[in-house]
């Protein structure tokens, strides 16, 4: 008998089916992958398991006994633990308080908080993940995004005798983690499996899934299409199942640029934690930025975009001096930016697609100058939407209603709206499904064909090697070297990020 079985799960939002027929079984002592493109219904299914969303119909059984999950509390009592994709932390509270979020604090005599016990228990949860460098008493706000994710992860591993954990549901847990941290998480998940616990693992990183999981269930268009043992499935099979067709190449072929002038020349640029940095970029070139998380990638991009005051150095854009004081200056100079956090930095979720796309171009004569011309705007947005292969019901659809990949395409359409000379990309394919990823790579290639230069910050090493001409490696706020991407091996690049290139070479 399976530990958990779901059958005939259905859910519709305002008549639109999100889940049509879902069946899933998870055994005790198994790491089970849940795969599928964005919009396939994985998030809805997880929300049903978490008691956040009520299904229209569902047959859910634990150890063969039917259960209903009416609230997050009930899910917790059943032994379910969740790490959600959009992780929420309270920056003003301590690490330990964040780990105990939603749980009962240990008390002295049932009244006053026992801070010592709280911190000790939290430290235990951190140590389970092998984390010793985070003090549970520290403010959450002082932690790097990677460390914050580790704290969120460890909260799932808090030991609770009165509701022991039986199933860990992990939605993109490694998105903000370094390779080392991910490895540590995998080790813990394997320990859980060995002890008879179960894991439902959601990730777009196929290699990770293939190495970690025992079985996989693939979802498409709100239905589970297949379940199989990992050992019997190839990488290509999985991708084909997810998108419903075969994909030959992961990255589109390099373009053959017609121009090759100097696009960007940076001399001694310093800002925030960014140490004086020099590099240059030709038109049509894609320069990758690699490095461990928090090595200064974000500062470099933000400084170029006018969001971080410069401490020194000069920038020349297309041969002309450029010194931005705000993102508005950057847009005017012909620089566009796709920020890392598309929901909090890239999109107005409650506004229509067309308002998102045209925002940076408002005031253009073709869009009516100071007065709004919604018809012209919608045409403009529809054209750009088609350029980026956006799938929507039309330019008036709300951004919030789109899947992650299509939301990212809206952000791209906005970035491309002014025909930029330089495009800054910060993790442009994070949380984006395979099909949309390929679309985005194709868009980038098409634009470089026309002369646009690109700076691509990414923690996805195959993406850097597959897309870039050259890759700059950053460490401790400075570029340590710039290497040609062609023929570069992943482990070589990773070692360079760690600063161990010479040991290998």
């Amino acid at each position: 008998m399976s530990f958990l079985s779901l059958d005939n799960v259905q859910k519709a939002y305002a008549g639109v089916p999100a889940l049509r027929r879902v069946a899933l079984t998870i055994e005790a002592g198994e790491i089970h992958a849940l795969m599928g493109e964005n919009g396939a219904g994985k998030s809805t299914l997880i929300k049903i398991l978490a008691g956040v969303v009520a299904p229209d119909a569902a047959d859910i059984r634990i150890d063969g006994r039917p259960v209903t999950i009416g609230s997050p509390k009930e899910a917790h009592r059943l032994g379910f633990r969740f790490i959600h994709q959009e992780f929420n932390v309270v920056p003003a509270l301590s690490v330990a308080e964040n780990i105990f979020m939603g749980r009962r604090y240990p008390k002295h005599g049932g009244v006053l908080v026992n801070w010592r016990a709280l911190n000790t228990t939290a430290r235990g949860a951190l140590e389970k993940l092998g984390i010793t460098h985070i003090d549970p008493r520290q403010r959450m706000a002082r932690l790097s995004p990677g460390d914050q994710m580790l704290v969120r992860l460890s909260s799932a591993f808090l030991s609770e005798p009165d509701a022991p954990a039986r199933l860990y549901v992990m939605d993109e847990p490694t998105a903000a983690l370094t390779r080392n941290e991910s490895e540590r998480l995998f080790r813990v998940l394997r320990e859980i499996r060995a002890a008879g616990g179960s894991v439902l693992y959601v990730s777009h990183r196929l290699d990770e899934v293939m190495a970690l999981c025992d079985r996989a269930t693939v979802m498409r268009d709100g239905a589970t299409v297949d379940t199989g043992r990992m050992a019997d499935i190839t990488h290509d099979d999985l991708v084909a199942l997810m998108i419903g067709r075969k994909v030959e190449e992961a990255y589109p072929a390099p373009s053959t640029p017609s121009t090759s002038g100097m696009a960007l020349d940076v001399r001694g640029l310093a800002a925030g934690r960014l140490q004086p940095t020099s590099f240059s970029l030709r038109q049509s070139e894609i320069l990758g930025i690699a490095g461990l998380s928090g090595s200064g990638q974000r500062e470099l991009v933000r400084a170029l975009f006018g969001d971080l005051p410069l401490r020194g150095g000069t920038i020349a854009l297309d041969g002309r001096p450029y010194r931005p004081f705000s993102p508005a200056d950057a847009w005017k100079a012909g620089i566009a930016y796709v920020p890392r956090e598309r929901r909090s930095e890239g999109l107005m979720l409650t506004r229509p697609i067309f308002e998102n796309i045209t925002l940076a171009q408002l005031g253009r004569q073709s869009l009516g100058g100071g007065f709004l011309t919604p018809k012209a705007e919608q045409r403009f947005a529809a054209t750009l939407g088609a350029d980026v292969r956006l799938r929507s019901t039309g330019p008036r659809q709300l951004a919030a209603e789109l899947s992650g990949g299509n939301q990212q395409k809206v952000v791209f359409a906005k970035a491309l709206s002014g025909n930029p000379k330089l495009l800054l990309l910060d993790e442009p394919t994070r949380g984006v499904d395979v099909g949309a990823k390929f679309d985005i790579y194709t868009i980038i290639r098409d634009m470089t064909q026309k002369g646009m230069a690109v700076i691509l910050v990414s923690s996805d090493l195959p993406e850097l090697i597959g897309m870039c001409d050259r890759i700059a490696v950053m460490r401790d706020g400075a570029i340590t070297e710039i290497v040609a991407a062609q023929g570069l091996r992943e482990d070589d690049l990773l070692n360079r990020c760690y600063g161990r290139a010479r040991l290998v070479a």
Binding site: S326, S344, T350, L359
Partner: protein, 323 residues
Amino acid sequence: MSIGTLLRRYGTLIGFALILGFFWFNLPDTFMTARNWLNITQQLSMLMVVAAGMTIVMVMGDFDLSVGSAASLSGIVAGVLFAAGYPIWATVGISLLGGLLGGAINGVLVSFIGILPFVATLAMLTILSGAAFVLSGGKTISGASIPADFSNFARGGIPLGEIGGVAVMLPNLTIVALVVVFAVWVLLEQTTFGRRLYAIGGNIEAAYLSGVAVRRLKLIAFALTGLSAAGAGLMYASRVASANPTQGSGLMLNAIAAVFLGMTMSEQGVPRILATVIGVLILGVLDNGLTQMSVDSYVRQILVGAIILLAVAASSFSKRLRR
């Protein structure tokens, strides 16, 4: 469209219609008359102007608590200037400029210094109110110092003809309110300025990264709200032919309430100027009808507050049901 969607979308309008029906039924002779409605629009005109200004900042997700005392102060400034013998045009101009300036100070505090609107405009409320008392010496300015032409403006209007042998006119104050509503409608719904304010309200970080000059726009928006408050203060002073340092104090809460009532009519909970107009009308009609039915003014307050809560609760409840 399902019944749920209809209720969510038009619940507040249906409620408004029920209120109208209730008063029509209970006050068959006096409520649904041209005369009464022209009277209502005149009574409402000051609130309408302030609520229109409030909508501008609330579109960005901010609000301005100082509008009431800004209105009082602008009335007092006008009274003091009249007493000193300034002509009407100069007095009106200086008072309006003062409102613009006060609003701009709010804008600087909120956007450039980064104080929360609640704190910044609360402090400004106190300062402006204190200034009104200092300038007036705590007394009402009235009588001969207020020029007759100034107070006659509020009593005048465009004649619309006779109904039942009584002359009716479209009051000047109503015309001012209509002009302000139209101007704010153009600004918010037809210009890139308005779109950018909605963008700031939608996601301030994304707007900033898209090149929207967030700080400058916030400053301008708060300045315009201050201007509308000063305008309302002058309308009040003209209507009662006097200025008193607490004249505008009821405006702020009612203006915010009107915008909130309007927001219940929007699927996304976004302030829209025409929805604010409905919100103002609901408040005005309630006040007018309950007064005519001789409901005690304290009881009236309780009823009005309860109706606002009901509308906002129903709207947020129906939005939650949809999930």
